[in-house]
């Protein structure tokens, strides 16, 4: 068999595989619940890294960590970021799990190895074709202090303790109903509510 014919057969086989995979995917449908594959994650991450200007990557955080700044930033994070990223940065939230791609576990190396400038740029400018919005306002450039403080807090995430998490939970955006449920649960845990009761939330088991 000629070399040209072999090449043609290989190309046809590859095309058949691609068409078959595409047909299978289209028939199955696309869901945001899926996890991106390793290859897709690699390609997306590579493109994203290219999207951060080298100048921004080398920006230094003008703030140094202190308990006051971390407390301020944790409140900001709990109010603005935790709905997708979770208070502990794990991304283990209802919204986080439903996004495609999923928010990363920010305690891990993938986020922690990024430079302060990269983290700042990502918060300010968001990530295209993902759930990460651009939180920066036009004209602030590299000088939004609240964003730099968030970068400090992201660095602190791997060392977050239970008391800090508990405090952040109180600062998460909640509906009145959720606050009422939370209060009832806390009272129960403290022994201030009887074991048998009639008041139940709509998703509390045992009604």
């Amino acid at each position: 068999m000629k070399k040209g014919n072999v090449m043609l057969l290989v190309l046809l086989a590859a095309a058949a595989v691609v068409i078959g995979a595409a047909a299978s995917l289209i028939r199955r449908g696309f869901s945001a619940r899926e996890q991106p594959s390793v290859v897709e994650s690699y390609l997306a991450t590579s493109v994203r890294n290219l999207a951060v200007p080298s100048r921004a990557k080398h920006e230094k955080n003008p703030f140094v960590p202190s308990s006051e700044l971390l407390a301020e930033a944790s409140a900001h994070f709990a109010n603005h970021c935790a709905v997708c990223h979770a208070d502990d940065g794990s991304g283990d939230t209802l919204f986080g799990k439903g996004l495609y791609p999923k928010p990363p576990d920010m305690r891990m190396r993938g986020t922690q190895r990024k430079s302060d400038g990269e983290l700042y740029y990502t918060i300010e400018n968001g990530i295209r074709l993902s759930g990460m919005p651009a939180f920066g306002e036009e004209g602030t450039g590299d000088g939004d202090p609240d964003t730099w403080k968030l970068v400090l807090f992201i660095r602190h995430l791997p060392n977050l303790n239970a008391a800090e998490l508990k405090h952040m939970e109180q600062l998460n955006p909640k509906t009145d109903e959720e606050r009422r449920e939370e209060k009832e649960e806390e009272e129960f845990l403290r022994g201030n509510r009887p074991q048998a009761q009639s008041s139940k939330s709509h998703h509390e088991l045992g009604e």
Partner: protein, 106 residues
């Protein structure tokens, strides 16, 4: 063009299957049994519910983090759990009360 097609082909070929996610349920009550991988709770409405504990389940007691070993029969608990399609409840968080439950008559 060839590169773009190759990227698209890679993405399609390596796409993974979906995993399920449901609404969280709150289980509030008193621990009646602790087993390897599960906890049984008598809820405040006097029903019995078994919840599966997994390695990712987070435990807290008061303001401190806790472990499955801290969970004892008689403890008040609030468990946030995700129901699976086969009717099981998988614990996401287990909050252990600082107050012990009083003894109930049945």
């Amino acid at each position: 063009m060839t590169y773009k097609l190759a990227v698209l082909a890679c993405i399609m070929l390596f796409a993974n299957l979906a995993f399920a996610h449901g609404n969280e349920k709150h289980v509030i009550g008193t621990v009646t049994k602790v087993s390897q991988g599960s906890v049984t709770v008598e809820t405040t409405a006097s029903t019995t519910v078994e919840v599966t504990i997994i390695s990712d389940t987070k435990f807290t007691k008061g303001d401190s983090s806790a472990t499955p070993k801290d969970l004892l029969v008689g403890d008040r608990v609030v468990i946030h759990a995700v129901p699976t399609e086969d009717g099981k409840l998988i614990a996401h968080t287990v909050q252990i009360g600082v107050a012990k439950a009083s003894v109930q008559s049945h």
